[in-house]
């Protein structure tokens, strides 16, 4: 599974980091989210799916 955060859509709600803190980091300057790495380890796929479902802006997309 691969994961992306669309920086133009993300508004820094930080709920993704609550769902999967190992995958989503929050930028120091504005609290917007970025991913540690696009490739998601299988053990974290479930958490990443939760993050997709909870992002209020629909900024996170997954593939595979």
């Amino acid at each position: 599974m691969r994961v992306r955060v669309d920086p133009d859509v993300c508004q820094g709600h930080t709920l993704c980091a609550l769902a999967a803190p190992e995958v989503f980091l929050l930028r120091e300057e504005d609290g917007h989210s970025y991913v540690v790495g696009e490739e998601v380890p299988p053990s974290m796929e479930e958490a990443v799916r939760k993050a997709v479902a909870t992002c209020p802006e629909g900024a996170i997309s997954i593939e595979g």
Partner: protein
Amino acid sequence: MADERVVVAFDQHSPDYKAGFPEIGHPMRSKCPVAWSEENGGYWVVTGRELIGQLAKRPDLLSNDHDPTGKRRGYRGITIPAPEGRTTRGGFLEMDPPEQLEYRRVLNPFLSPAAIERWRPMVSELSEACLDEVVESGELDFVDDLANVVPAVLTMGLLGLPLLDWVHYCEPAHATVYTPPQSPDYPRVIDLSIQMAFRLAGELERVKADPRPGMVGALVEAQRADPETFNDEDLVGTLLLLIGGGFDTTTALTSHALHWLDTRPGERRRLLEEPGLLDTATEEFVRFATPAQGGGRTITTDCEVGGHRFGAGDRVWMAYGLANHDPDAFFDPDEIVLDRFPNRHAAFGLGVHRCIGSNLARMSFKTMVVEALRRVPDYRVRQDGVVRYEDIGTINGYRHLPASFTPGRRQGPPLDEVIGRWQRTLDGEQA
């Protein structure tokens, strides 16, 4: 399609709204996620979670601009109805991108999760000190004695203004929100808010002459680089906005949570004991109560969004509070489910105008609630003394939430001493 619109009798400032929230949204939403009300000059009310998200993502179609003197398009800003007699706009919340983004760029660094962490020790000590002030008496008012104080002092700190000055801003910050225009107290409250604006204008001048760290200092610095975007009038509007946002919303959230927990000792224990529960519960209290109930917008051009047509100049109220109870987006929407997750609530707003202080609000809310549950664990709300805001259409707040509890022992110094110590610490960091 104007003739097909669903017309409802709706006014978020009415007693019916206060008595009926959140259920009042269900019959409207089931007819249509956006309905038309003839009140307040006529406006659309958006109650569907999906549609509100689609609209919030179109700052090209929805404007927040407030232009009371008709310099631009004469739009009426984010309050429906627009307040009378105002000649200035409410900071960057009543601006559109790109101007609005300029302001957020200056202020964002103060409000990121990392930046907020710095303030946590102060917030804990303030919460402890607030409870210390009352713990020996066995009686408190969660609003006056805790939830009004901590966010206010914290906001002063972020702005870089004298911490003890919170008292000057406290009453006007809340009273301007809860006092309806027809109240006999209204003229006095307007007077207070004018004094507050003058005081802030004075602070601005002081910081210009003697630069200080903090948000005021950063705005003054931005003004040096771009005096047009960061003009004095909009800076004062912005400071009023930051004080309103910083003082009033977290207070409302904390009161709602402590009121709900009144009859639920088991849930109080769970919140203190179950790891992670406080995080999801915080989002759930925010969703359920939605302190900032909604926001007004103006449609910039004839358009269709989500299959609904809007006309240029139409007023729209984004009913975030009602959208947060949309059964299509939340199971059992009118229940508080402490471990609800995912929770795509819109309580901080959505899109470019999303609440800039959400991380601050979460941190101070959690700290105050945990401290209250620890220090007055057996509190019971005195229901006859509970006073909610007369009008909840702007902020769903409480004026009073009194409670009794088994008296305990003071553990630390008086509140003013704690505030004074933090002031010296902050001044020292700056020296």
